[in-house]
């Protein structure tokens, strides 16, 4: 499934510089080094972290997109950095678990 296809399923595009990217699996976590150690390439990464280091981690760990769950607000700095570094960021108004369940259904 492509990242941009999530927009038809309740996810909001906060920054979408590379919507054609394919999603392969999901990882959930807020501790950045934990994510870098455990997330796989092309995973959709669900988090509630919104500081700008999230973009660097997503870029270096090569995740397909970041999904900000729980409706957390995104800063302009995060949005601009994501666009500049080619990192997709989507928003979900649902809690983390429901967001993951929704993704599981879509990726099955």
């Amino acid at each position: 499934m492509k990242v941009k296809e999530l927009l038809a399923h309740g996810f909001e595009a906060l920054a979408l510089p590379d919507g054609e990217r394919e999603i392969d699996g999901v990882y959930i976590g807020d501790l950045l080094s934990w994510v870098m150690g455990r997330a796989q390439m092309d995973n959709a990464w669900i988090t509630i972290m919104t500081n700008v280091n999230v973009v660097a981690v997503a870029s270096l760990a090569d995740t397909s997109c970041v999904i900000l769950a729980e409706g957390v607000a995104m800063t302009d700095e995060l949005k601009d950095t994501a666009q500049a570094k080619d990192v997709n960021i989507l928003g979900s108004s649902e809690p983390i678990y429901e967001t993951a369940v929704r993704l599981a259904g879509l990726l099955a």
């Binding site: 080094s33 150690g37 390439m41 270096l60 760990a61």
Partner: protein, 141 residues
């Protein structure tokens, strides 16, 4: 063996939010060299963890990356306080980072373990009160 490529970076110790500039640049450079995404990912994560460590603990330092046909070598050098107990620092979950660092999502105690996880070899040369040099290699051949 043909000529090796060398990239040198100064890691700014004061600027926490821009940490990762060196590793992001290395990622770009390696991509231009046509290396595989899996290799690039390993090198850039290992280097980013090192860069973050230098910002958190050592007020910055330098990073040198050497690319040969056989391997990529990353050398991170700082003039920080040194690592008191390397064995302890290598354990997952051990961290001396402050609460403010943790609130940014760092300080999980996974930095050095990740550097080891993603590289084929890693050595730590540290002297208390003088600094730390970490040398990592990712094999290409």
């Amino acid at each position: 063996m043909s000529d090796s490529l060398v990239f040198h970076f100064d890691v700014d110790g004061d600027n926490f939010t821009s940490a990762g500039q060196a590793s992001t640049q290395v990622k770009k450079n390696l991509r231009q060299l046509g290396l595989s995404p899996a290799i690039i990912r390993r090198v850039s994560i290992a280097m980013y963890e090192g860069e973050i460590n230098m910002v958190i603990h050592a007020n910055g330092g330098t990073a040198d990356v050497v690319v040969t046909e056989e391997y990529i070598e990353i050398v991170l050098e700082d003039r920080g306080p040194g690592i008191q107990n390397v064995e302890q620092a290598m354990q997952e979950g051990f961290s001396t980072a402050t609460d403010s660092i943790r609130s940014l999502g760092f300080g999980a105690g996974m930095g050095l373990p990740n550097m080891k996880r993603y590289t084929d070899s890693m050595s730590i040369d540290t002297v208390i009160g003088e600094g730390t040099t970490i040398t990592m290699r990712v094999n290409l051949a």
